[in-house]
Amino acid sequence: MAQAESQRLTQIKTNLERRALIHDSIRAFFRNEGFLEVDTPLLVPTVAPELYIAPFRADGWFLSTSPEMHMKRLLAGGYGNMFQICHCFRKDERGRLHNPEFTMLEWYRLDADYTQIVQDTERLILHVAASLGLGSTIRYHNNEIDLAPPWPRITVSQAFLDSAGWDPVSHPDTERFDIDLVDRVIPTFPLNRPSVLLDYPAANASMARLKVKDPLVAERAEVFIGGLELANAYSELTDTAELVQRFQSEIERLRADGGQSIPMPHTFLEATASLPACGGIALGVDRLVMLFCDAASIDEVMAFPRDLA
């Protein structure tokens, strides 16, 4: 074994051992909640069309970018509350917080909306901290983070008005949104508390349902801890016609942008006719492990990141 590799593996061993405990702890949490652990394919005939998520192609198939559509097919098939820990693949995503192959935790709760899913997240994170022998305060990057719920919530409108001086809900501008979110809004989040950013502009709804009383706003929430974007929750959109419309517009944008063609996910769309009301969330497990290992880079919590795979 090359010396550099053996040295690196020795260095990250404690992190990887802790990682295994975190996986166990997540599973224990959901089993205790009565959730079914499911296992959906990584090799898939199509992916959810999203302008800024590029899939890997594999011999006419795709590597899964998210387990969402398959888990919803199970929900439509009458399976109840469920969770999954699986790998996802997203092309070109490589940086301090990104690896093109990463681990996602995804769960769905029947009859729940995004606010209840955020509460699940609060309880899950505290449960993981406790099973690692930690209290409700953890240390990340020289900051004490108080994890005690409820975590401060702020709407996208308010956060942008405070930090960027404009309201993306009343004046949608998707390009400026992403840039200001990263450059202006996220940096103002307190480092000693988690932050929940909620009520996204309808243009950023993805697969979240719009608020009945305010269709400019999508019931979507993101959780940030210690500057890490950790999880993305929805009140799930169950209206097939609206899903078709959103997918179509995204497929057209993709085609216009770079000539990428993603087949319409027909099987999923058919299933959504029986999709029950539910809330769901995708949580980046690698970043959760980073948080509990006080790791600065995703490379410190995976055995073989892309460049060393």
Partner: protein, 189 residues
Amino acid sequence: MTEISEVSRNTKLMIDGAPFVVEDVNFVKPGKGRAIYRLRLRNLFDGMAREITYHSGDRVEEVSVTSHEMQYLYEESGNYVFMDTETFEQHPMNKKQIGPKAVFLKEGCMVTILIMHGRIIDINLPKFVELAVTESAYTTKTDTVTAQQKMVTLETGATVGVPPFVKEGDIIKVDTRTGTYVERTGTKK
């Protein structure tokens, strides 16, 4: 043109007519949003650092710049001859290609030569060179740079301002980036 997503450390890019080397890529991306690439670059002509932010979908112009370690052998009627230390091939270059740096080239010294599209775009000298003073005759007031400095000529033909105690035959250390005297390191035997 190259997709910004394909750029990584050490990629060479042509920006505003000048070649740059990418020294660092900081990748930031909101989960569902556009990726942001913050590039730290260095201009291969003048060494100046620069930061530029790109977004996913942006395209950049990649250039192939190769760097070669070469040894300066000798000068013959305005042509400077260099030898690639890996292939032992000899490359003549004229004074114009080398520019003002030519006055610090001492036979036998190692330089880094950057080649783009088959053409030499730059020569990187060692930061410091040690050269012998061959002429220190200037003592008249008009040649005095400041009260504490006088001009001397070095073995390569360069002229630099030095303190009054430096004399013919001394070896001095010169900063090739600024062309200025650093210290006296010895005397030629």
